[in-house]
Symmetry: C2
Subunit: 387 residues, 2 copies
């Protein structure tokens, strides 16, 4: 195993009906609350009113920032930070999907900062503090409820970049399966792809041998695939929704990669450019890009992808199979599985033409997190996603 540090202080509260306790949890960190939510689904389902009631019953004064969209925008974060300063907000409550949580995390940082917040996304400055954050996630996908990450779209520069800081670990995250029962099929599937990509990206590029982490990663992948199918077959299954929520937290909560050493997230870096330009759902973009990245790594990291194919995708090894052959059978099987749950698997389905690939590749290489992913590599990967 490579050297590692593991630290994740977020308290997870899981259970049906736990949403009612959000007021009690938030009030532990302050009484002046900014509630951050999405567009309308929370109001339609009736949970918005119940969350506000719970907060008020716990003695909180609630300011509301609504209207967070998928691919969350920097402008709204700045507006939220301004609101925090004006209302002397002490704690932020985020109720929604990953976009809502990432917006709330960025607000939590921006509220205490007087400079240009985009500096943090460009890795120009280091985050030194944030308001306390309590989350309640309505969609199994980003795992933002259990980690240090936030991804934000800067609509002025056309950049979709991320921050990472221990200061934005949520203090408490409530996972309540009831809140994701009404999630539409496409978002359910896209969420599952996001979860799987969070595990596969590290797994397939890990330089270190860390067998316990491999197995925990495989555990989370197997259960994600199983419960995604079940949630699509039976959208009202609390068991399926609950298992998916927990898989999403574990997938990006730091349990799977200890000892792996430095990994790369090329599918995410590439996808962020595609969704920033096309506004496609993050999970839809990943369903197209991730198998292409896996095919790319099947050459230079065949043994690891062969292990993935055998242990997770159920590929059988014949005595004279090469690792690369196993790896490719795994990738092809995974791509068929993605199509079977209703995901796009080609760039064309996202409205990206083959002729645009070089332009995308150039932009991708400019991301400060791109690392070794230069334009040539990005182009090679994107060409795997054409057909």
């Amino acid at each position: 195993m490579r050297s590692f540090q593991y630290h994740n202080p977020t308290r997870i509260i899981y259970g049906e009906g736990e949403y009612k306790n959000i007021g009690k949890e938030v009030a532990g960190f302050g009484s002046k609350v900014l509630l951050v939510t999405g567009k309308s689904s929370l109001k339609r389902s009736g949970y918005f009113d119940q969350v506000v009631s719970s907060l008020r019953e716990a003695g909180c004064r609630v300011s509301v920032l609504e209207g967070v969209e998928p691919n969350p925008r920097l402008e709204l974060c700045l507006k939220g930070a301004e609101l925090c300063r004006r209302e002397r907000i002490e704690v932020i409550a985020a109720v929604g999907g990953g976009s809502v949580l990432d917006t709330a995390k960025t607000i939590a940082v921006a509220a205490l900062d007087t400079g240009d917040i985009w500096d943090f996304f460009l890795c120009k400055r280091k985050i030194t503090g944030a308001l306390p954050l309590v989350t309640m996630v309505t969609m199994a996908a980003t795992g933002s409820e259990f980690n240090t990450n936030a991804v934000i779209n800067n609509e002025q520069t056309g950049q979709k970049y991320a921050i990472h800081s221990e200061h934005i670990f949520p203090k408490v995250s409530i996972l309540d399966p009831l809140l994701s029962l009404s999630l539409p099929a496409d978002q359910t599937a896209y969420g599952a792809v996001d979860i799987l990509s969070h595990i596969i990206e590290g797994y397939q590029t890990a330089p270190g041998k860390a067998p316990l982490s491999d197995r925990i990663a495989e555990a989370a992948m197997k259960e994600t695939m199983l419960w995604a199918r079940r949630a699509l077959d039976a959208p009202q299954s609390k068991e399926a929704r609950g298992n998916l929520l927990w898989c999403s937290s574990v997938a990006l909560g730091g349990w799977t990669w200890n000892g792996w050493g430095p990994t790369t997230f090329h599918a995410h870096t590439i996808e962020h450019e595609i969704s920033a330009a096309t506004n496609c759902a993050h999970g839809a973009g990943l369903a197209v890009v991730l198998p292409a990245v896996m095919r790319f790594h099947s050459r230079n990291n065949a043994a690891k992808l062969a292990q993935l194919a055998q242990r997770v995708f159920g590929v059988t090894r014949y005595w004279n199979d090469t690792a690369e052959a196993l790896a490719l059978r795994g990738v092809n099987g995974f791509k068929r599985w993605l199509a079977s749950i209703g995901c796009p698997v080609t760039l064309g389905e996202l409205g990206v033409e083959e002729t645009q690939i070089p332009e995308y590749a150039r932009k991708i290489a400019l991301n400060p997190e791109a690392g070794e992913l230069d334009a040539a590599m990005a182009e090679e990967i994107l060409r795997f996603a054409v057909g």
Copy 2:
């Protein structure tokens, strides 16, 4: 999945040579340090002097409490707490095995308490605070470096009981494979049994269906068995020692049981009585008692033990096998494996006579954590451990 709360704020620092950084980590919590260690192995290996140097170089004033023995004693904890008050200790550094860590945890609580510390072990009072604790573990076994537990022997009352409190989560725990390279074969094996029992006890009694937790538990069991064998075959293997250390932390760090619902630890409760009386190593006692408890549960929880047998112990299912038959084949295979790594598997090997069973059973039922484990059940289980 059943409702659950997960919270584990301990920072894990894993790596070869990380022991040198203990001073830096401890100094973050204060400069007046109590260093708690065992009898002599740390001095023999030369690490004691290096730890003290690291602490002093970081600007710490070091008081030392040495001589913690296996089955750690309350008396030494009281002496340590007295030392803390006299020397105005601000932070405790524990370097050793589980006994050292549990002693340090108890001192951390007792230093801030003016009442009878044994009240906490008898569940008469609730722990409300503790000094900060940094640990560096020299043996893969108890997982005390990554959890809220401490087990202490009250030599006056003959009781060996536990405390559980979030206040005794270590702030930082360093896992350095170099520190366990010289661990003798018997302690290596006993440590592995302790790790496995921490997982199996919950796994076999969990009332809730929590498939991701099952798989994470299975992952940790498989890797523990694999690396225990390797550490016995090649005691100087840093890879084997490191993997065992990480397995021991994960086994009792809260990752494996989320959603399982309330579980019982009867093997531990029974074993504590046996080691309190015979002073046998905790892991040796568990190797005798755990298979007996598994056999007991093979009746009322056959399906779960059959899953364990198939997924972890490699038992093959024939079409007309009952779950109980699979479960029992698993238990018998596990018992053979325990014997193969040099563990005792019968009460006689611990010096416990069959005629003493009723007396042990009566004492076991008095443990405040015994719950449903009454004298009759304890006796039935112990009789399974005779031959």
